[in-house]
């Protein structure tokens, strides 16, 4: 199963984030811009980290921001934010974060195959640094093997 589409609107490059909350909000803004979620989803992703800690920093330099399925999710979607300056999330081993991937899924069951695809991509430990260095959305799509188009199904794109 391929990744959800990653349109240009879901990618933000060299974002200036002061802290992890700003970095997660940037991933949320990109999800909302692509039509995958409402604006409120960003706060849900921050809530998860406040509740459970920085476990979303799943590999060195990489945060996989996500929240539970809920009314804020309009369509399955991912977003990618690269940070102009690495930001600490509070993870003992994988800080600082250079790349934030936002993930929105509609059901807890339906997402496993597309997330498995993310696992395939990031099992190459050079990919995070390559994404962090990318200067154009097309480069990031190519690194992830994500499709560009496809209506996210959520309306405003």
């Amino acid at each position: 199963m391929p990744l959800p589409p990653l349109p240009d609107s879901a990618i933000a490059i060299a974002v200036d984030a002061d802290d992890w909350r700003a970095a997660v909000h940037a991933a949320g803004s990109a999800l909302a811009a692509s039509g995958a979620t409402t604006d409120a989803y960003a706060d849900r992703m921050v809530d998860v980290i406040e509740e459970y800690g920085a476990y979303v920093v799943v590999a060195p330099g990489l945060a996989l921001a996500h929240a539970r399925p809920g009314p804020e999710v309009l369509a399955e979607g991912i977003s990618v934010v690269t940070l102009a300056h690495p930001v600490a999330f509070g993870h003992a081993h994988n800080d600082p974060v250079q790349v934030v991937v936002g993930l929105a899924v509609r059901t807890a069951e339906g997402h496993v195959a597309s997330v498995a695809e993310l696992a395939n991509v990031f099992n190459d430990d050079a990919v995070v640094a390559s994404i962090a260095r990318a200067t154009a959305p097309g480069e990031i799509r190519a690194l992830l093997g994500a499709p560009s188009a496809g209506d996210a199904g959520g309306g405003a794109a």
């Binding site: 459970y52 476990y55 996500h66 993870h91 997330v115 498995a116």
Partner: protein
């Protein structure tokens, strides 16, 4: 054999850990049923499991939730490091 992978909300990170745990098991030539769970559901999910894989941030909650169960709680630092996952699985069940 049953293995449970745990993250805070049961989507995303636990699914990645499940995928890479299955990959690690293949490498070790071991067979197991791997299930993804959230912290709230881990007590039920791990009732008949041998191993629970989770992250350093969640391990205290997972230990508290699974107190009294037989499952061994194993911490994984890098969810994308199949070598690390294979090595912790090998030392707990291999």
């Amino acid at each position: 054999m049953r293995i449970v992978t745990v993250c805070g909300v049961g989507i995303g990170t636990s699914a990645i850990l499940k995928t890479n745990a299955e990959r690690a098991l293949d490498r070790l030539m071991l067979e197991a049923d791997v299930t993804a769970s959230d912290v709230d559901g881990v007590a039920a999910a791990a009732r008949d499991a041998q191993v629970v894989l989770t992250s350093p941030e969640l391990v205290d909650r997972v230990r508290a939730a699974t107190a009294g169960l037989h499952a061994e709680i194993v911490v994984v630092q890098n969810y994308f490091d199949v070598d690390e996952i294979a090595s912790v699985l090998e030392s707990s069940i291999g």
